[in-house]
Symmetry: C2
Subunit: 332 residues, 2 copies
């Protein structure tokens, strides 16, 4: 029979297509886990019910007592009202103003912290990964889109109500490509996996990337990070040049942000970087150091993320522990 008195924190990662609940004991070992697909048709109401089911199933499978759950941290791929615990907008699923904190704390009778998923990942890097001990850590996560997060003096950098650090929507190219946010020339429109795939598909179509053409064709849905990496290894110079240029733009954005907030550590992560760290990390570091003012040269390190897939769910649980314990302290 399991220890019925053991306390734990619940981390939750709400993705674009799947969700993951993971419970941690007080030494941050995983003690329960459950994963589900998101059903796109069910709307926010059905989605929240599925989140609750996923947590309940994780607890049941591991025979954890819900009474011993100290709190839930839930990371979501969109802007958050951090005061109210509201998921403001999830355009891909059509969810808007979802009161996650209210619903989950009612369902589980425990405190809940709602945060942005990239903030969660960068917070995990700060506590247990590549950003330990620094005063200011920023993270850039490049995959299908580009997200960012910043930990300043041990806390997630945030606005008066909203989460922030949307580095993917800094303008890096005047009159650049159209971005999903409605603007032009955002970093995401230039350097995300989707932006790179679109350029590489053209190169493949023209015959400049024969290995990519053979392996993935010209449908950008099939041109994933792994296929890009393999085509470079096989000798597709055009693909390598496109990715170096994309990394250079990430470096330009990072350089502008270094001039603004002077981080000590810049963590690079996401599917693109994980597939090709040796290409991205030095390119970004070089372009950023070229871009910054003289006083900031070599004042920051560009490093790959140390935690992989679990950074988001772990960071959500760690942030719950930090922010909810802090509130208890302030109230007592």
């Amino acid at each position: 029979m399991p220890d019925d008195s053991a306390q734990y924190w619940m981390g939750f990662d709400l993705g674009g297509t799947k969700m993951l609940a993971q419970a941690y004991d007080l030494k941050w070992n995983v003690v329960a886990k459950e994963r589900k697909r998101i059903h796109p048709g069910t709307g926010a109401k059905g989605g929240v019910e599925r989140i609750i089911d996923t947590i309940n199933e994780a607890l049941t499978k591991a025979a954890l007592n819900p009474k011993n759950m100290l709190g839930i941290g839930i990371g979501c791929p969109g802007p958050i009202d951090m005061n109210k615990g509201l998921l403001l907008d999830l355009p891909n699923l059509g969810w808007q103003a979802v009161p996650l904190k209210e619903r989950l704390s009612a369902a589980f009778n425990c405190p809940v912290a709602v945060l942005n998923d990239v903030d969660a990942g960068v917070y995990a890097e700060h506590r247990q990964g590549a950003g330990k001990g620094a005063r200011t850590i920023m993270g850039v996560f490049a995959g299908t889109g580009i997200g960012g997060g910043c930990i300043y003096q041990g806390e997630i950098l945030r606005g008066g109500t909203n989460s922030c650090f949307e580095i993917g929507h800094m303008q890096v190219m005047s009159n650049g490509p159209r971005c999903g946010c409605g603007q032009r020339g955002c970093l995401e429109s230039v350097s995300s996996r989707l932006a790179i795939a679109a350029q590489c598909a053209r190169a493949a179509y023209r015959g400049d990337a024969p290995h990519l053409l053979g392996a993935a064709g010209t449908d950008i849905a099939n041109i994933r990070s792994g296929a890009l990496k393999d085509s470079i290894t096989a000798g597709d110079k055009a693909v390598e040049e496109i990715i170096k240029e994309a990394a250079r733009y990430i470096g330009i954005a990072v350089g502008s942000v270094v001039n603004l907030i002077a981080p000590e550590i810049v963590v690079l992560g996401g599917g693109l970087v994980e597939a090709m760290p040796d290409l991205f990390v030095p390119q970004v570091a070089k372009a950023a150091n070229k871009r910054v003012m003289p006083a900031y040269k070599d004042t920051f390190k560009v490093v790959p993320a140390a935690l992989k897939d679990d950074a988001g769910v772990l960071g959500a649980a760690l942030w719950a522990e930090y922010s909810l314990s802090k509130k208890e302290k302030a109230a007592s």
Copy 2:
């Protein structure tokens, strides 16, 4: 005979061409003042002596007892090592790594805080001006150059060692004009008074800005903010368009920064904005709101600076009071 026991804080504003010492009583009334030109030829050593002389003369004139000086805050137009109180770089005067905190605390036997001059101005707006009560305030000061500052949760936003928030050196135009920092397309290279004057001089030379041509000619040294304003009032449409375009680029930079740090208040100041607030403030607000992601629209106010010339020297004194009192508290 003056009250020999009255305590006061000393604010100091080190400009590019002049310096200003101003002492404040505990209710922030000015109780002493002295201003001097900087002699460019004397180097950092002579400069620091002149700073000390200026403070001493202010005290003597007002018959203030140096023993009652609670601390000195000195704002400088360059990056600062805020831990060591070092002025890192003042390219116009050729000063480098000047140990201002060490020199001034030795000369006056009191604690000293060294900070960036724009940070000082924004801090004053936070305490007594247009940014009161907000969690995050950012300032953009557009004059000969473009400086920025940010107050986050009541404190100057800073790096591990250095001051930061150099919004003038964010890239806003790919392959844009050359900037003094060595890069291309920085906001300062596009929207500073010098950048605007260079464009207006060409318009005047071509005959497109007859009023400006008559009043200031085509020498950019003579095309000051007041002359620009007067030429617009007199009907120089070309000048108005150039300035609107410059304001639009400030708005693009502000929009990118709103996506990053979600400030509630954006304070605009500096000679250009002070001369033409009705032109700059709405243009910047419009361009920034156009640029931000949907979740950040109308979450911030763009306002003109409320404090004028004295913001820098007042902010330096206020920051001395805040940061030096805080240190005393932590030590006791």
